[in-house]
Amino acid sequence: MSESSPPGGVGLPIVEAIGVSKRYGATLALSEAGIRVMPGESHALVGRNGAGKSTLVGILTGLREPDSGEVRFSGQPAPPISDREAWRGQVACVYQHSTIIPDLTVGENLLINRQPTRRGLISWGALRRQAREILDQWNVAVSEDMRAGDLKVEARQLVEIARALSYGARFIILDEPTAQLDGDEIKRLFVRMRELQAQGVTFLFISHHLQEVYEICQEVTVLRDARHIISAPVANLPKDRLIEAMTGEQVNLGSADTAGRTPATDAAVALEVRNIGGEDFHDVSFAVRRGEVVGISGATSSGRVGVAEAVAGLGGFESGSITINSRPMRSGDVPTALALGVGCVPKSRHAQGLVLTQPVADNVTMTIARRLGPLGFIAPRRRAEAATAAIRRLGVVTEGPEQLVASLSGGNQQKVVMGRALANAPSVLVLMDPTAGVDVKSKEALLQVVDDMRREGKAILVVSGELEDLRTCDRVLIMRHGAVVAEHEAGWSDNALVASIEGI
């Protein structure tokens, strides 16, 4: 807090969070953090994944109650959590995911659950008129009769902003609004933000793209590891200091180790990707040797996940070739990938990694069920042995192989996914966001496993946006707009890598 600047303008901040803390189980999501946003400014909130941004947004919008600390609007204490109506009058958040109902019209979405009625029945004429008024007032050029699901992202965001404003809120949180927009759309969004700002609307702007922060915001607040690091006018905080505030000055032995280890230049190439192109990537080539860890990073939409999924057979590729131990991989075919010796931690453990309703043992043996007994029968003893071995190797905290995965903590669930990836003794490991959403200790354990696997001579591809994950890598490829644009040898500095990912 030492570098917090005094409020730039006069009067009370439109919103202020003071010393808020929030704990989820063992994880401290927010620790004594604070923010103050003055009326009429555009305030940026930045921090890496897990820094506590979304928790703070949840608290500022009244969706989550802080364990301690308080929120004030224009100097007044925030309404009670149960009074949604009052919160809506103060603050609104436009999320990355849509909160409109796609099969209703734009008009009904604007006035949902407060449709104008006549003698107890909805008056559709009045609804259309009121919706038109709201859209005109905030200069949104969208027909009120349009099916909301047909709106483009850009128009959808404007409708959501207009809806928030129509509740009386003059403080709007934009959660990564530019992530799904292209360059021209971003420019138009910024023009619109400036117009609204001139009309007295205050924005809290969240983005991973730091140059946007400099373009549109006057103030910036940085969170890191659940703590408030700094709040300052953007003019006083050059990019390098901003990145430093985001990443911290970490002395990490892991990176020194990585830099010091001798690359296995003479080892056989286990994975070779040559000029592959697909839905969101093109012309990507690289090779991974046995005992080598290669990272791929980039923004969420950079195509890094598409490349990883192509290697693991989860997604397809249209051109180019992938060879695993000199044998060709077929596009979009998981059984072939498994047979060729690819183990995979998919991007989302809930969507693709686990069957939550099944026990740990079934989840970790899912890829190797055919090897656990004759004719496809699963010998209970061998299943239990395989499961216990995985539990032991990965340090899964569980009551035993028969515990349902749904009742494990996030970190332990992720270890089970890792266990599944390792079950078929793969020679190539593809790890997508292998430590996403896990606590610090599980993260360490998982990264230790990655290092152990490297020592065993596996070729490892780590695809992640997390610096901690990438620190285990011998080299990191950076992707942007579907192509590899840079390569960093081990020993990179956090600042250089973040700058490369963010494209500045």
Binding site: D225, V334, V355, L356, T357, Q358, T388, V440
Partner: protein, 342 residues
Amino acid sequence: MSVANPIPQTSIVEPRVAPTAAKIVVARLRDLALLPALALLVVIGTLVSPVFLTSGNINTILTSSAALALVVLAESLVIITGKFDLSLESVYGFAPAIGAMVVVPAANFGFGFELPTFVGILVVLLVGGLIGFINGFMVVRLRLSAFIVTLAMLIIVRGMLVGATSGRTLFDLPDAFYALMVITFLGMPLAVWLAAFAFFVAGIVLRYHRLGRALYAIGGNPEAARAAGIRVERITWGVYVLAGVLAAIGGLEITGYVGAISANQGNGLIFTVFAAAVIGGISLDGGKGTMFGALTGVLLLGVVGNLLTLAQVPSFWIQAIYGAIILGSLMVARFASGQSQE
């Protein structure tokens, strides 16, 4: 990022064995959730009628439940895979009817092909499999809603049965069509042994074979199953075909039991089938439930039906009471297992 304390780390790595056994016992107990209800009905049955616990009556209960059991087995497999098949009740009538009609002479309302009897039996199985195949095609390949596709198939196949027979009842069938009920082994008709065997095999496969485990994985999370290399489409499709064949065999059993095939054989059966499966702990969400549970569901309904007959409940009231007992059993199972049934 703090460095983790290495000391608790080592204690974590030791898998704790003691609670495992207890957990497994609890998990097994959930399969037994219906047994209290079943026991209660047996007590009531003994009080209501001295005949109830005789071997003859038990034989009756099992014989009359055998056909239903096969359809419940078929439906349970489909539900565990996370899908629905409502058309099984129509297959149950249509498949044996077509099988019979290719065999019996035109005078007995057959098609007049008068093919050998074994071909007729084969046709029964083929028709069941074919309807399952069509269901599978539409659900898996065309990605239509399983509920609506099989509802439409239920209506179509039922209509085809009525159309093919012109609404008449087929009787005087070759002996082979009655064999499952006529031939007995250790005092029980083959139909009962067949149903018991089918449940045994399905139980083993679901628990100890990778195909069975794949059904649970697909029903629990198809994306995760796909990522684990399971051929989700192929297996789901196969389950539909298998379910059709099983329902056709069930239809053959009821044909032997009744001694004829009426144009409305199986009409309304699907409600009973779902009731038995859900009472038996098969979750409609998919991915949950065991063959043992499904079997207790079938037995419970069989006992209830038998009791109502023995108690000489006026026939006009049987349906209402039957429904009420299904609801009651559902509640007993819910609270005995402590698990919600979605």
